[in-house]
């Protein structure tokens, strides 16, 4: 959270002057450069991440608005090539990751330019339409207005069904906000409507953003550099802990369409043209749709396939974090676990030094640090628990 202008050096220059990144390089016996061992750093970051996610209920059906600040401040070049370009690039990656982890949720895009907030795309479930719309509108000018953005988003989010979780993610480059009225009132309105607002700042910490996030239960963070920004942004992809009173539990009617036979000609309801084969048939009104998940344009039924629901089951049945274990050759009880159970990589380093590895608390199998990260972040199955009845 430091200012970018310190000592007259830009952030990228300080990496050479202060941090001396070349000193962390090492040579091996033959004089060749050894790759920097980032494994323990990644593992420590990953341990920090999972410590915060306890086994609490998560909001699985999310309606998220991403507010992109396209004011004058977004053309600053402290993020190469410009803040706006970096933000757009990472939003694309975030949108894909978001739909991968939350297949039943929807995203909408809003931009702030010249003091006004405009809706770029409506709430929808198709990643490509959002990305295309954003890439077409990357110009910045004028001031930034937080209140206008919040008012706009508030209006839209009030129309969504009561079982959905309402969220806003603001990517704020400016250091100020020019508002037409009392922003504190707007913040209270958002709090009353149960909208969870989070902000990722690109310049410095601003009190009003901190206040907004505290009032609505969101998270506020400021990015130090591009990779930090990417990390902070992707933290919003998994479902946040659900505040129980925020969404009302409801039974949602959904359809599970069958895939239409190859060679059948029908008019598809999304593109309004005749298509041959492929596609899915809505079970209620028999209209043809091209892809899932989607809402049938004719009768409004939400159409999903069972894998889409299964994608979210791992949020409901998480595996416990593994315990850190230090292996040493001298311990007779640990002699049987010389290799990682998942990838068979040897857990011992030559020289009798104790290695750091992890063990599952349920099945007691040992895993290497890389498998630990992969298992908890992507696979969501413990190979040890699954391999024994």
């Amino acid at each position: 959270e430091d200012e970018d202008e310190g000592n007259g050096l830009d952030a990228w220059e300080r990496a050479y002057a202060d941090e001396r990144s070349w000193e962390s390089l090492q040579e091996d016996e033959s004089g060749l450069l050894r790759p920097i061992d980032n494994k323990t750093i990644y593992h420590a970051q990953y341990r920090r991440r999972i410590r915060t996610t306890a086994r609490i209920q998560k909001g699985l059906i999310r309606y998220l608005y991403i507010v992109v600040d396209l004011s004058r401040a977004a053309s600053e070049m402290d993020f190469k090539p410009s803040r706006m370009a970096v933000v757009a690039k990472h939003i694309e990656a975030f949108i894909r990751e978001f739909f991968d982890q939350n297949p039943l949720s929807q995203i909408g895009l809003v931009t702030i330019k010249d003091g006004l907030a405009q809706c770029l795309t409506d709430l929808g479930g198709s990643p490509d339409s959002h990305v295309k719309a954003l890439m077409g509108k990357l110009e910045c000018s004028g001031d930034s207005s937080l209140q206008n953005a919040l008012d706009l988003v508030h209006g839209y989010l009030n129309q969504i069904p009561s079982y959905g979780h309402r969220e806003v993610l603001i990517l704020y480059s400016a250091l100020s906000t020019c508002d037409p009225g009392d922003i504190m009132e707007t913040i209270q309105e958002c709090k009353k409507s149960k909208i969870r607002c989070s902000v990722i700042g690109l310049s410095a910490e601003i009190f009003i953003c901190r206040h907004l996030c505290q009032e609505t239960g969101g998270s506020y963070s400021v990015a130090l550099d591009e990779s930090h920004f990417k990390e902070l942004l992707l933290e919003h992809a998994p479902p946040p802990p659900a505040i129980a009173e925020f969404a009302i539990a409801n039974l949602i009617k959904m359809g599970f369409p069958q895939r239409a036979a190859e060679g059948v000609i029908s008019i598809c309801s999304c593109h309004k043209e005749a298509k041959v084969g492929g596609g899915y048939t809505c079970p209620r009104c028999k209209a043809r749709v091209c892809e899932l998940p989607t809402e049938c344009r004719i009768c409004g039924l939400t159409l999903v396939s069972s894998p889409h629901l299964a994608r979210s089951y791992h949020h409901l049945f998480p595996i416990p974090p593994f315990d850190e274990v230090s292996l040493s050759l001298n311990n007779p009880h640990q002699r049987s676990s010389r290799a990682c159970f998942g990838c068979q990589e040897s857990l011992l380093i030559p020289g009798n030094k104790p290695t750091l590895c992890v063990a599952c608390p349920k099945c007691k199998q040992h895993f290497c640090l890389d498998c630990d990260i992969y298992i908890h972040e992507s696979l969501h199955n413990c190979p040890g628990c699954e391999s024994f009845r």
């Binding site: 086994r55 609490i56 209920q57 699985l60 059906i61 991968d100 039943l104 079982y163 959905g164 659900a242 129980a244 009173e245 925020f246 969404a247 009302i248 539990a249 409801n250 039974l251 949602i252 009617k253 959904m254 359809g255 599970f256 069958q258 895939r259 079970p283 209620r284 039924l301 396939s305 069972s306 894998p307 629901l309 299964a310 994608r311 979210s312 089951y313 791992h314 409901l316 049945f317 990682c340 159970f341 998942g342 990838c343 068979q344 990589e345 890389d370 498998c371 992969y374 298992i375 972040e377 992507s378 696979l379 969501h380 199955n381 413990c382 190979p383 699954e386 391999s387 024994f388 009845r389």
Partner: protein
């Protein structure tokens, strides 16, 4: 974790991870004897290693009580004495470890299953295969293109649904295709979905005596060359869901917005998470003892 593009290694080098079903309950009643099956598979594995010098084969056994690595073509052969002139070292190494595995697996059997054929631990071997493949990705830009081949005969175990789906999605994200060759009597819904979602090939051979021919014509090609071949296409993968209350296949149903359980009729309360519909749920319902329910497809 996205894999490094393997264009830096020749396009047609493969890493084939074979998941071999060794469930004794299935093999005791199978039409093809296990020994004949093994001879087809060993010939096939040999042919993979012959196609390209850099190809790698790993075999994982899927038992009914445990799973384990049986063979890795890239590891140094441990026992050259096993090459007794009648069998190459590959076969004898593999067979020896397989025998050890099957004996160990049988010892773990707690009780004899009374009805039907028990399922094998497909989710376990899939998870182990994926962890191994991640290790290969970590070795740097030079690595073979991995894929998984499931030789499965036992029926699907509904209690493994969530774990198998997790493995399938992880394979899809890492772009690892899962091919399936089903040797049992009935189709496997899990493997049909796995192959469809990950872009692999699903096949249920009609004549098991010619298994080697099916394996070598359909499953031996590397991923790059598959673009030029007409491989069996999926015919009608059923993505409809089953309701949690009756296990019937439904095409329209009701989903609990909290836990995504599927019901065929309107209920007042969700049986999985306990949320009462129509009013804000209280915190006490966040389930601490929920087991993995078995939604079948």
């Amino acid at each position: 974790m996205a894999p490094v593009p393997s264009k830096l290694y020749s396009d047609d080098v493969s890493l084939l991870v074979v998941l071999l079903d060794t469930n004794p309950f299935f093999w005791s009643t199978a039409s093809l004897p296990f020994s004949k099956f093994l001879s087809h598979v060993l010939a096939f594995l040999n042919s993979i290693l012959l196609i390209n010098q850099l190809n790698q084969v790993v075999v994982i056994a899927t038992g009914c009580n445990s799973c384990n690595f049986i063979f890795d073509s890239s590891s140094v052969p441990a026992n050259p004495n096993l090459e007794n002139g009648r069998m190459p070292a590959l076969c004898s190494n593999l067979l020896q470890k397989l025998e050890e595995f099957v004996t160990g697996d049988e010892k773990l059997s707690k009780e004899v299953l009374a009805a039907g054929i028990g399922s094998s631990l497909l989710s376990g071997s899939l998870s182990m295969a994926l962890c191994y493949i991640q290790r290969v990705f970590r070795t740097g830009p030079l690595h073979p293109q991995p894929r998984i081949l499931c030789l499965q005969g036992s029926p699907d175990g509904p209690e493994q649904y969530v774990a198998v789906m997790n493995a399938i999605f992880s394979a899809q994200r890492s772009m690892v295709p899962i091919d399936s060759c089903v040797i049992g009597a009935q189709h496997s819904a899990f493997l049909q979905q796995a192959s469809y979602i990950t872009g692999g090939v699903y096949l249920k051979p009609q004549q098991l005596d010619g298994l080697f021919q099916y394996l070598s014509t359909v499953f031996a090609t590397d991923l790059h060359s598959r673009r030029f071949l007409q491989l069996p296409k999926p015919a009608g993968v059923d993505f409809r869901a089953s309701c949690f209350c009756h296990k019937n296949t439904i095409d329209m149903g009701y989903i609990c917005s909290v836990c995504l359980s599927i019901f065929c009729k309107h209920h007042k309360k969700c049986s999985t998470c306990g949320s009462v519909f129509g009013q804000a749920q209280s915190d006490g319902n966040s389930a601490t003892d929920r087991k993995r329910k078995t939604p079948e497809t």
